[in-house]
């Protein structure tokens, strides 16, 4: 791989980062994605940077529409996140960010499964530092859980790719489909990183444990990389439509109840992933475009929302709904950006979500996937419940918490404003986005009918919210946490472990004692006859010796004469 390949730029920068002073690192972090973008656009479509390793041909840059879309949005988001994190002086976090971004870009450019696997694991390893950089016991433990699950995904991918290789003799990363054990393994591996239902809990567990800036970075890469991988390998797999629908629906409920708003956003992220997964599952050009466009936009608005919550956390020390309120007084710009993010995620016309979400919905409708269509419709209304209306209202308006934090620092403000601007630009002028997508787009969101239906939904959802609020039917936020399936490995398994391990220990000790007991029994028995002075070890008297001689003689004669 040449040093000019996009992921290599990031890795080299990470290496340089080890030796740079703080300011230099921050600038480098900003500059690298730009260089990366240049590099991405310098590659002609096709396969480049082929390397022979262990007899495999690894292709590090496979440039086509799909890969470019993701590489571009990853680069943009990396730059924005770097701007947002300009104040950070934690070297580890910065290096982690660079390696993470580079690996994610490497993964979407990977032309074969082994290369994909390498980057896949690298993202896991690099990203966990964004949690560990928080340097608390809780974050360390969470990071450990996160890492293990991420690597689990990686090793499943490895197993799958080896099986696939054994089956087909190919490591090419193209359309796979769930057709064999190998591809099934790969599917599950992608599913973990994509937060499929029941495989999702790592996301909600880990993202709120990141640093303020780290969570922003985390929200960008891993899951979108998984969406890309699914789109590459499993487009048109019908199972995905159902999976995506369930994701979108279930995340809605879990997002609403959370008190920690960064966790709300995490669940909300899962919901948005559901849209993309459905799009991939439908597999038509329109649907894939939709999934990709949605990934592009959601990276921006989800990142924006995480930035806003991060800013709040940065200034107040908390991101819990129960402790926040009325911050718009002193943080107007943050509040405004948050509103832009909210508008984008809820697909308000002129904001980015509006131009991307409808692609998937339309594709579902065209191809007759009505269940999915309804599920996504409900989910997009649900987004209003937990994210679009609830977050801005509780944090910035609503009941005053008495907190009067200062406005975000300049660089954070800049990052949020640029991101918000991008959301608006895409919403207003989606043509460049559409041009980037892998397939020809013959679609316009701005039809009268679409505008009308979308506005109806928004207005009536808003009406409902206000009505419920006036009635006092909304649950008050309390400083609590909520269970998810991670209870299995955080509570139940550890609870069962002592019993299991003690019984194993007991068995082992029993075995050991049995062996030692038998040995010492034998030892004592033998000692009785063999110790100095005992029967076998003493000098026998002449009589005894003669007796033995006679016995042997008798035996011998008897045997021979018979």
């Amino acid at each position: 791989m040449s040093l000019f390949a996009p992921p290599a730029i990031y890795l080299v920068a990470a290496l340089i980062c080890c030796f740079l002073p703080r300011r230099g690192r921050a600038v480098l972090l900003l500059a690298v994605p730009v260089a990366g973008l240049v590099s991405i656009f310098s590659y002609a479509p096709g396969v480049h940077e082929v390397v022979q390793v262990l007899g495999f041909e690894l292709s590090f840059v496979r440039m086509d529409g799909m890969a470019r879309t993701f590489a571009v949005i990853f680069s943009i988001a990396a730059a924005l996140a770097a701007l947002y994190a300009f104040h950070v002086h934690d070297r580890l976090e910065q290096i982690g960010t660079l390696v993470y971004a580079g690996s994610a870009i490497g993964a979407v450019l990977a032309g074969d499964l082994i290369t994909l696997f390498l980057w896949w694991e690298a993202t896991a390893l690099a990203s966990v530092f964004l949690m560990w950089a928080r340097r608390t016991t809780g974050a360390m433990a969470t990071g450990m859980r996160y890492l293990i699950i991420q690597v689990l995904s990686g090793v499943l991918l490895l197993t799958g790719l080896l099986l696939h290789y054994y089956d087909t003799g190919s490591i090419a990363f193209d359309q796979l489909g769930v057709v064999s054990p190998g591809t099934a393994f790969i599917f599950v591996a992608f599913g973990i990183k994509c937060a499929f239902p029941l495989l999702h809990n790592w996301l909600a567990d880990a993202y709120p444990a990141g640093t303020i800036t780290g969570t922003v970075v985390l929200s960008i890469f891993t899951t979108k990389m998984a969406v890309y991988a699914l789109a590459r390998g499993y487009a048109g797999t019908e199972m995905l439509i159902w999976i995506g629908s369930v994701m979108a629906l279930s995340a809605t409920f879990l997002a609403v109840i959370q008190n920690d708003l960064r966790r709300t956003l995490s669940y909300s992220l899962i919901g948005q992933l559901g849209f993309m997964v459905v799009g991939v599952g439908i597999g038509s050009e329109l649907a894939l475009n939709g999934a990709m466009a949605h990934a592009f936009c959601s990276v921006l608005y989800q990142g924006l929302l995480f930035m806003c919550m991060g800013t709040v956390l940065y200034r107040t020390g908390t991101s819990k709904a129960s402790e926040l309120g009325g911050l718009a007084r002193t943080m107007p710009i943050t509040a405004a950006c948050c509103l832009v993010g909210a508008a984008s995620i809820s697909a308000v016309p002129l904001f980015s979500g509006f131009v991307s979400k409808s692609l998937t919905l339309s594709a579902a409708a065209y191809d007759g996937h009505y269940f999915a269509w309804y599920a996504l419709l409900i989910a997009s209304i649900g987004v209003l419940c937990h994210t679009a209306i609830r977050i801005p209202y509780t944090v910035f308006f609503g009941e005053d918490s008495g907190k009067r934090p200062a406005e975000a620092p300049v660089h954070m403000r800049a990052a949020m404003i640029v991101t918000a601007a991008l959301c608006v630009v895409i919403g207003v002028y989606p043509a460049p986005l559409y041009a980037l997508l892998p397939f020809e787009v013959d679609y316009s969101s701005y039809t009268v009918a679409h505008l009308l239906t979308q506005l109806q939904m928004l207005a009536f959802a808003g009406l409902s919210y206000i009505w419920l609020m006036r009635r006092g039917l909304l649950t008050a936020d309390k400083d609590v946490m909520f269970l998810d399936t991670d209870i299995v490995y955080r509570r139940w398994l550890p609870a069962a472990l002592p019993a299991v391990s003690s019984s194993i220990t007991a068995v082992w000790h029993a075995f050991q004692n049995l062996c030692l007991g038998a040995l010492s029994f034998a030892y004592q028995r033998v000692e009785k006859v063999a110790a100095p002075g005992a029967i076998l070890a003493q000098g026998w008297s002449v009589g005894t010796m003669m007796f033995v001689v006679i016995v042997v003689m008798a035996v011998l004669l008897f045997a021979n004469l018979l």
Partner: protein, 519 residues
């Protein structure tokens, strides 16, 4: 060297016996400790050289038949020397020579100087007897030499320091006499059945004898007698006390040679004389020997583990090792016999070296009580190293002689499909690891209980203060044997070839050649 002319060098077989035999009365005449030691050493040395010449000779020629005094058999006594005898002669005389070098300091410390000449006289008579057994081709002559060696051995043992030595010697006298009489009876029956005492003639006549019953009885008596003399389990009981109580230099010598010579006789009688088909085919000797061998190496190794006196430990280990040899012999195959013969040599060397190391310890520490040997390594590093290396040999670590014979034995057992016995052989090797390891661990790693004891004035076993390294005259022969052990271990093929040739000759039976040596 390859050509031994009848006129001069052709008398070498006679020299083999005559030199030590004449040296013995010479010792009595000089009555001086140092001079008698020198005479013994010289005589033994000459025997070694002549044995070496014989080995070289038979290695390239037919077996030698030498008529003593020119009287041809059946009238006269004939010496019959093939590879096996020559090897035995070399083993006996070689170990005797090395042990004699070693013996001087050791004996000087335990026997008063006015009696030492008697000790060396007995020693010379003993090697005369042992070599006579090994060289003669006459069955009755075997008995005669056996008696000579036995009586000499009784007296060697009786030279031991305490009264226990006399008891041990007495027991050995009784058992040895019983064994000898069995052998005598056996030979008598053979003579009655065949009318000859010459082995070659016996070999020819036994198959065609008219009184097979007599041969059968002779066979049984010989078996018992030789089992006693060779200390084959369960007729071994005299051995531990004898080895324990004898002067340690004598023990080193006897452990390396005496029982081995008896084993030689066993092979000579049962293979050469009775013939392999008779002994193992129709009389199932292996059914007697193999269980005895297995019982020996398993049970005696176990017993050795528990012994606290190193001499007793090694004595029982000897019985166990004899079990290996017997197992090889009892297989009645080329590979098995090779294993048995090669282990006779290897074990002789190893065990002699081990007893020498024990002798060094005995000399300096005054005792060889295992638990009190702590941190001996610091005071007697060379002795302890020697014990360690010889112990490796006993266990059968690669590059030592013990490995060669064990490898050969296991291969022979596998060849016959006797894998349960292989398991037992291995188990008993592991027991050897245990009993050697226990000693080594105490010597090397257990810290100063005895030095504390010395400080408080209450030393249980002799004087442990002021222990220092053994004298060079004892170390050098010991290390010479160790060097030999490693040489055999590394160039195992040399001894294996020799033993293989001996085994081949044994299996072929004795050949009737024109008397008078080379022709």
């Amino acid at each position: 060297m390859s050509e031994l002319s009848v006129s001069t060098a052709g008398q070498i077989p006679a020299l083999q016996i005559i030199v030590p035999m004449l040296a013995a009365p010479l010792c009595v005449l000089v009555r001086n400790a140092r001079a008698s030691w020198l005479i013994a050493l010289a005589a033994s040395g000459v025997s070694t050289v002549t044995a070496w010449l014989l080995v070289l000779h038979v290695g390239e020629h037919e077996p030698i038949r030498y008529a003593l005094g020119g009287w041809l058999p059946p009238t006269g006594i004939e010496y019959y020397i093939d590879t096996l005898n020559a090897t035995m002669l070399l083993l006996v005389s070689g170990i005797s020579t090395v042990a004699l070098v070693y013996a001087r300091e050791s004996i000087a410390s335990s026997i008063s100087s006015d009696r030492q000449y008697l000790f060396y006289t007995s020693w010379l008579l003993c090697i005369t007897g042992l070599m006579g057994i090994a060289i003669t081709g006459d069955a009755f002559n075997v008995f005669v030499f056996l008696e000579i060696s036995s009586i000499a051995t009784y007296s060697l043992i009786a030279f031991g320091k305490d009264r226990q030595a006399l008891i041990a010697s007495f027991r050995y006298v009784v058992m040895g006499s019983v064994g000898a009489s069995f052998i005598l009876l056996g030979i008598g029956f053979l003579y009655a059945a065949t009318g000859t005492l010459n082995m070659v003639d016996l070999a020819a006549r036994i198959p065609v004898t008219e009184s097979p019953r007599a041969v059968l009885v002779a066979f049984s008596f010989l078996t018992i007698g030789l089992m006693i003399k060779a200390a084959i389990f369960p007729l071994h009981a005299w051995l531990a006390d004898a080895y324990h109580r004898a002067p340690i230099a004598a023990t080193a010598f006897l452990a390396g040679t005496a029982t081995k010579v008896s084993l030689y006789v066993l092979m000579r009688f049962f293979y050469s004389m009775f013939g392999v088909d008779y002994s193992f085919g129709s009389l199932f000797l292996n059914w007697v020997l193999l269980p005895a061998a297995v019982g020996g190496f398993v049970i005696m190794s176990l017993v050795a583990v528990f012994q606290t006196d190193l001499r007793r430990m090694l004595a029982f280990s000897s019985v166990a090792q004899i079990g290996y040899i017997v197992a090889g012999i009892a297989l009645a195959t080329q590979a098995g016999l090779t294993a048995g013969i090669v282990h006779i040599v290897n074990h002789g060397v190893i065990k002699a070296a081990l007893f020498m190391a024990v002798g060094c310890i005995l000399l300096r520490a005054g005792h060889v009580h295992r638990p009190s040997l702590d941190s001996l390594y610091r005071r007697m590093p060379f002795t302890c190293t020697a014990f360690l290396l010889a112990g490796f040999g006993l266990v059968g670590i690669p590059l030592t002689a013990g490995f060669v014979s064990k490898f050969q034995l296991i291969q022979a057992l596998l060849e016959r499909g006797l894998w349960p016995i292989v398991v037992l052989v291995l188990a008993s090797s592991l027991l050897a690891v245990v009993y050697v390891g226990r000693v080594i661990e105490i010597m090397l790693f257990r810290e100063g209980r005895s030095s504390e004891g010395a400080a408080s004035g209450g030393v249980e076993h002799g004087h442990s203060t002021g222990i220092h390294e053994a004298p060079l005259t004892m170390l050098v022969p010991m290390y010479a044997l160790l060097a030999l052990m490693f040489w055999i271990g590394i160039n195992g093929e040399v001894t294996l070839d020799l033993a293989g040739e001996a085994a081949r000759q044994l299996l072929e039976g004795m050949r009737v050649l024109t008397p008078g040596g080379v022709s």
